[in-house]
């Protein structure tokens, strides 16, 4: 049985991390000026691309499909991380996922295009894509992020190995 007073005490004592330096002045100033800097995709870059995160930008011009960077076994489910690095928090961003080839997203079987509106926080936004390998061969997931007329695409190339296929 949890003692109520002790619980209240513990709840009140839960640490709250400091906000970034200058937070109070900054938020008050921004509120007055309603700063909505245009999102600078190029300055934002792609964030920390560790070996486990494969994230290749597609240019507007048609480009050859990237080399598969993630390998899945047939019917394997895996949460694949994708980083979207944003210089600033963005409300009402639209994210579209296009899924083709040998993979699907768990819970969205046979859906090749998924779209939703969301907010991105300043800094690294880590999306965890629930990918499933459905057939042997190459697959592609393209993430398109749109905000106020600016669009950026990221693509993730995958390869699903057939049973007994040991090719690396």
């Amino acid at each position: 049985m949890v003692d109520v007073n002790k619980l209240r005490e513990s709840l009140s004592a839960m640490p709250v991390p400091e906000p970034r330096p200058g937070f109070v002045d900054r938020v008050l100033a921004n509120a007055k000026h309603d700063i909505r800097r245009p999102f600078n995709w190029w300055a934002a870059g792609l964030g920390a691309l560790a070996a486990t995160i494969a994230c290749v930008a597609l240019l507007w011009k048609p480009a050859p499909a990237p080399e598969p960077s993630i390998r899945l076994a047939l019917n394997e489910s895996r949460d694949v991380p994708l980083v979207i690095d944003s210089e600033r928090a963005l409300d009402d961003a639209t994210i579209r996922l296009y899924v083709t080839g040998s993979v699907e997203l768990a819970g969205y079987e046979q859906q090749h295009e998924i779209e939703w509106k969301t907010s991105l926080t300043a800094g690294a936004n880590l999306l965890s894509l629930p990918v499933v390998g459905r057939a042997p061969g190459d697959g592609l997931v393209i993430a398109e992020i749109e905000h106020q007329g600016h669009t950026r695409r990221l693509s993730l190339a995958l390869h699903v190995t057939a049973p007994g296929d040991d090719s690396a």
Binding site: S10, V16, P17, V27, L28, W116, K117, L127, P130
Partner: protein, 191 residues
């Protein structure tokens, strides 16, 4: 108007951040939530002038924004993992009581306290966001039920039952075990 807004709101920014952090569990999201709240409030300074108690009013505005965020992210088929806060120093807030001096505690109390804090923090992180909101407003910030109901814009009866459910859920989580899994922001329940 800018100077007036500053005067009206400066003393409330840190408490609002504290609420926002307890609701979201994430420093970036908490900062953004406060930013959006202030931006909205700035457009309504004439109304702010009329309000007797600004902080609950601002908390109400912030809660509406928070609900919008929750609705939008719930539709997402993927999981977002924002930057979580560092375990830096606690807020230096004049409303919080100072801790008792260390020499009045015995080491057993300290160990038990640290253990309890870990359990409570882990359980808190697993709570549904709306439970965190009512618990933080009532149990931590000391708002009355009427005030909580006003902030979250529900009838008092609804606020009371939500608070009871939140308390029960927190007790369940605390009683579940000493090592609950550490969740990520908005992560779906696993299995």
């Amino acid at each position: 108007m800018a100077a007036e807004f500053d005067l009206l709101m400066r003393g409330h920014v840190r408490p609002l951040y504290r609420y926002a952090y307890r609701w979201t569990g994430d420093v970036d999201q908490a900062e953004d939530l406060v930013q959006e709240t202030l931006t909205r409030l700035y457009s309504d300074v004439p109304r702010l002038r009329e309000i007797e108690r600004v902080r609950p009013w601002a908390a109400r505005v912030m809660y509406r924004i928070f609900l919008d965020w929750l609705r939008r992210t719930r539709r997402s088929p993927v999981v977002y993992v924002g930057r979580s806060g560092s375990t830096g120093e606690c807020f230096d807030d004049e409303d919080e009581q100072a801790e008792a001096p260390a020499d009045t505690w015995n080491p057993e109390d300290l160990t038990e306290r640290a253990f309890e804090m870990e359990r409570v923090t882990a359980a808190w992180a697993r709570l549904h966001e709306q439970h965190r909101v009512v618990l933080s407003l009532h149990e931590i910030e000391g708002y009355s039920l009427d005030e909580v109901a006003h902030i979250i814009e529900v009838p008092v009866g609804t606020a009371k039952s939500r608070l009871n459910r939140a308390r029960n859920r927190l007790r369940e989580l605390l009683n579940e075990g000493t090592n609950p899994p550490a969740p990520t922001c908005n992560s779906p329940e696993t299995q």
